[in-house]
């Protein structure tokens, strides 16, 4: 039968419209790769963390032959440079141009806050790394989960350990003067004072402090000083602290980023014996970490710390969720539900999420010691299943204002 030209043209047009309307029919599900976007600061002052994040995640995918749950996976890395506006731009690029199916990162709280509304609007499943408390408390997003820790979550166990095992009664806290430092010290202070201890001084140093001399000279006598610092500031403060002879008078304890493996590798014996708390340590003795840490060390020539572990753990969580959805990423609601409901076994232990999307997992108390001639964070105690609310009642916790410089109020400060 001959087809008239009109019938031919109408037929082609119909087929074209049909294929536009139902792209799933044209591309068989599973034949295009899973696209994972990584927002990391590869340049700028936060660069060393961002580089580790990229390295660990790339390693994760390579170990699995770039295949997750039977489907090819592709990693697209975007450099946020540690600038919120750039983070936003890059997130837009990843979601709208590269059409990623899920996002991992970003690292800094101000970057995460810059993209929070956008990822909710675009319904993009995001495995965040930033520690800002309210992202999983008073302003949660159904699309955001965090497998690392809130600012204070890892500090509570250390407060408990300081009270019960070290028997400290008076502590001075010092941190950088921005939200992360405020939140971590507030959490530490709350748990420490609720257990009968006293925070006698809270020092907040500007983020850009070249010389810590005048701050070191202000430190009041106490049993210990708690370092709520991030990046290299803690280590630079510690150097001055030792030079002024204070390490002989007070113990030093720190939060999850104070003496991270990335900082430790540039330090010397002065760091030995310092206790810190974190949700990860390169020395963790579980089967997954026994494989990961040496492999990372071989590639990077240094131990993995907070930043490397953050994306490696997030990758493991994503893989577990993909196994549940059998590789389906197109159904976003199912994917984010699978992520939130996952119970993944990772290098930090088992990771599960509470209803706000924040991790409930192990937190480890670590002590700096020497192994094979290099400084490591040896694990001395494990606090299992720590949630962002610690032992406090969830509803009461959320009714209080978010942790800040002045909340909870410090009642035991010495003049």
């Amino acid at each position: 039968m001959t087809i008239s030209r009109r019938q031919f043209v109408n037929g082609i047009a119909g087929a074209g419209v049909a294929s536009l309307a139902a792209p799933n029919i044209v591309f068989a599900q599973g034949s295009e790769p899973i696209r994972i976007g990584l927002l990391a600061a590869k340049t700028g002052p936060l660069a060393s963390g961002g580089i580790d994040m990229d390295l660990a995640l790339t390693m994760f995918l390579k170990e699995r032959n770039n295949t997750l749950a039977g489907r090819k996976a592709e990693l697209i890395v975007a450099d946020t440079a540690g600038v919120p506006a750039t983070a936003r731009t890059k997130a837009q690029e990843l979601i709208e141009k590269d059409k990623v199916h899920c996002l991992i990162g970003p690292l800094a709280a101000f970057e995460a806050l810059a993209i929070a509304d956008y990822i909710t609007e675009k319904e993009m499943p995001t495995l965040g790394v930033a520690a800002a408390e309210d992202m999983t408390q008073r302003h949660p997003s159904p699309w955001f989960v965090r497998a690392t820790s809130t600012s204070a979550q890892s500090a509570y166990p250390l407060a408990d350990y300081a009270l019960k095992e070290l028997k400290y009664k008076k502590i001075v806290t010092i941190a950088d003067d921005f939200a992360y430092g405020h939140e971590m010290c507030a959490g530490f202070q709350r748990a420490f004072e609720d257990g009968g201890g006293k925070i006698v001084q809270k020092i907040f140093t500007p983020l850009a402090t070249p010389d810590y001399g005048s701050y070191v000279a202000q430190v009041k006598p106490a049993d210990a000083i708690f370092l709520g610092t991030a990046g290299s500031n803690g280590f630079r403060f510690l150097r001055q602290f030792i030079e002024y002879g204070l390490k002989d008078k007070m113990a030093v304890i720190g939060g999850m980023t104070a003496l991270d493996e990335s900082v430790l590798r540039n330090m010397g014996d002065e760091a030995l014996g310092i206790l810190t708390t974190s949700w990860y340590s390169a020395e963790l003795d579980n089967p997954l970490n026994r494989a990961f840490a040496p492999a990372f060390r071989k590639q990077a020539k240094y131990d993995p710390g907070f930043y490397a572990a953050s994306t490696y753990v997030s990758g493991a969580v994503l893989e577990a969720a993909l196994k549940t959805t059998k590789g389906n990423v197109e159904d976003k609601k199912a994917l984010v539900a699978a992520i939130r409901g996952s119970n993944a076994d990772t290098v930090r232990g088992v990771v599960k999420f509470d209803e706000f999307g924040n991790v409930i997992g192990n937190v480890y108390i670590r002590k700096v010691s020497k192994t094979d001639g290099r400084l490591v964070n040896s694990v001395i105690k494990t606090y299992p299943d720590v949630s962002q609310f610690w032992t406090y009642d969830k509803a009461a916790f959320l009714k209080n204002p978010v942790y800040s410089r002045d909340y909870p109020p410090a009642k035991n400060l010495e003049p």
């Binding site: 340049t43 700028g44 002052p45 936060l46 660069a47 060393s48 963390g49 961002g50 580089i51 003067d177 020092i203 907040f204 140093t205 500007p206 850009a208 402090t209 070249p210 010389d211 001399g213 005048s214 701050y215 000279a217 202000q218 990046g231 290299s232 280590f235 630079r236 150097r239 001055q240 030079e243 002024y244 002879g245 990335s262 900082v263 590798r265 540039n266 330090m267």
Partner: protein, 288 residues
């Protein structure tokens, strides 16, 4: 009592460091009327070079490193001045922008070469033991810094007041047109002064290393301090840079100790006052 003494000593050592940093800046600003925004980066480059050199070469002396790094940074500064700044003669805004650009280039290069981690600069062995004073300890190296600043001030004073080069520089600062008219090779002088300023910054970076450590962002942290010192002390005046450094050292140290939330306000308030009421600074000689 101890608090005041320790903070006083801290102020002196910070002032010493600031003088080493800002003397070069003041010279360049005074003679070339150029706010050299690369100054912080030159300082940081010195610190990074010291970090690598002192950690890899055993027995290397910090004083030698300071001279070496100073020379290296001076060379970079000289090339920059000859190849870039002279082409923008008569375009002051362009020159400032180009120094800003150069500072970004240097800081990104440092990030590429040395990575993002903070690298400590070892304190010289014989100065590591703290000094015992009035019943407390104080890092010896900081006290030595004060001495170094005084030595540098004396050397620069002799250079400016007792040598022919110094006379030419002073003439150029006072009245550039007249100096040219009298036959002073102002263009060559510019290169020499830029090299000198950059070199001092680099050496200062080495000497400040044990206290500050080399880290990305050090340039951005130090540049505003140099600016404040020079504005307070007066552009082109060595005495101004010296006095200004110690004043700022005291204001910063006691300010952050007594009013920590107001750290940056305390630092910039005196600068605002000076600009409002005495624009040429305490000892400034530059007219319009």
């Amino acid at each position: 009592m101890q608090f005041w003494i320790i903070q006083g000593l801290n102020s002196l050592s910070l002032g010493g460091l600031l003088f080493l940093l800002s003397s070069g800046f003041s010279l360049i600003f005074g003679l070339m009327r150029l706010a050299n925004l690369t100054h912080g980066a030159f300082f940081m480059l010195g610190t990074y070079l010291a970090a690598t050199a002192l950690r890899s070469i055993d027995g290397l002396n910090i004083w030698v490193t300071a001279l070496g790094a100073g020379a290296a940074v001076a060379a970079i500064g000289g090339l920059f001045e000859r190849l870039v700044l002279t082409r923008l003669k008569g375009n002051p805004l362009g020159q400032v922008l180009v120094t800003l650009g150069m500072s970004f280039i240097i800081s990104d290069a440092c990030l590429m070469i040395w990575g993002g981690d903070s690298i400590p600069v070892p304190t010289p062995q014989n100065l590591q033991a703290p000094t015992r004073l009035f019943g407390f300890v104080f890092p010896t190296y900081r006290l030595v810094l004060v001495g170094l600043a005084i030595v540098a001030a004396i050397l620069l004073y002799f250079l400016l007041e007792r040598t022919r080069l110094g006379a030419m520089i002073r003439a150029g600062v006072d009245d550039r047109q007249m100096a040219r008219a009298v036959g002073i090779p102002v263009a060559n002088l510019f290169t020499i002064v830029f090299c000198l300023g950059a070199g001092i910054a680099g050496a200062a970076g080495v000497l400040g290393g044990p206290i500050l450590s080399a880290y990305p962002g050090l340039d951005a942290d130090m540049l505003p301090l140099a600016l404040i010192v020079v504005i307070l002390g007066g552009i082109g005046s060595l005495l101004g840079a010296f006095v200004g450094s110690f004043i700022i050292g005291f204001i910063y140290t006691f300010g952050t100790a007594l009013f920590p939330e107001l750290a940056y306000i305390i630092l910039f308030l005196p600068m605002i006052f000076v600009i409002a009421f005495r624009p040429q600074g305490l000892f400034g000689r530059v007219g319009a």
